[in-house]
Symmetry: C2
Subunit: 116 residues, 2 copies
């Protein structure tokens, strides 16, 4: 993986060291990547955007996202595991909502970025 395919190439060691020292460490970058990956699926994004508007049950989300209940449930589990959504049980139903409204800001900032 990390073999020195670059051994012949000249690179600027000073620049490289400077960048390396300023850069986030691998762990932080991995956390960023995991977060972005979690919200980079169309179904999950629809779920998130819906839950920002209001609390919804699994079946409502299936109707809104246009995928099977099973698929929604799978995606909700991923979002729960990543602490992006939470749920309350009421009888047979599960009502899902957003954990941290912060995510709304992030999506809006990206929307601005895209529409340029």
């Amino acid at each position: 993986m990390t073999e020195d395919t670059c051994s012949v190439n000249i690179f600027d060691p000073e620049k490289v060291e400077k960048v390396k020292s300023v850069l986030s460490d691998d762990e932080d970058t991995l956390k960023l990547a995991v977060f972005f990956k979690t919200i980079s699926d169309q179904t999950r994004l629809k779920i998130i955007q819906s839950l920002i508007i209001e609390e919804l049950c699994v079946c409502d989300l299936a109707e809104i996202t246009n995928v099977s209940i099973s698929a929604v449930s799978h995606q909700l589990r991923i979002l729960r595991d990543k602490n992006i959504v939470k749920y309350r049980k009421q009888g047979k139903m599960a009502y899902y909502s957003i954990v941290d409204e912060h995510i709304d800001q992030i999506i809006n900032l990206v929307k601005e970025h895209i529409s340029e």
Copy 2:
């Protein structure tokens, strides 16, 4: 894909309609998803964060990210296609830089979000 597995379940049609009408359309959500997917890989994130600091050539980026030159080049192509990075040719070298500094804000906002 869109079969009515949900036909038996009761869902709240009023809520669903309300959310559907407020929600971004599929095309916008897809754009969001594509953007997030583009920046959700660890190697690409390192490249982006490095280029935010300063302009770098392919070989420098390979050294910084610790992957092969070929792998970096593949990732740079993805970032070019998505208009996230650009490059200038100088002799044999290609110097890459960030297209839109906006992306720095996005990453920083997510970093804040994560560190809570």
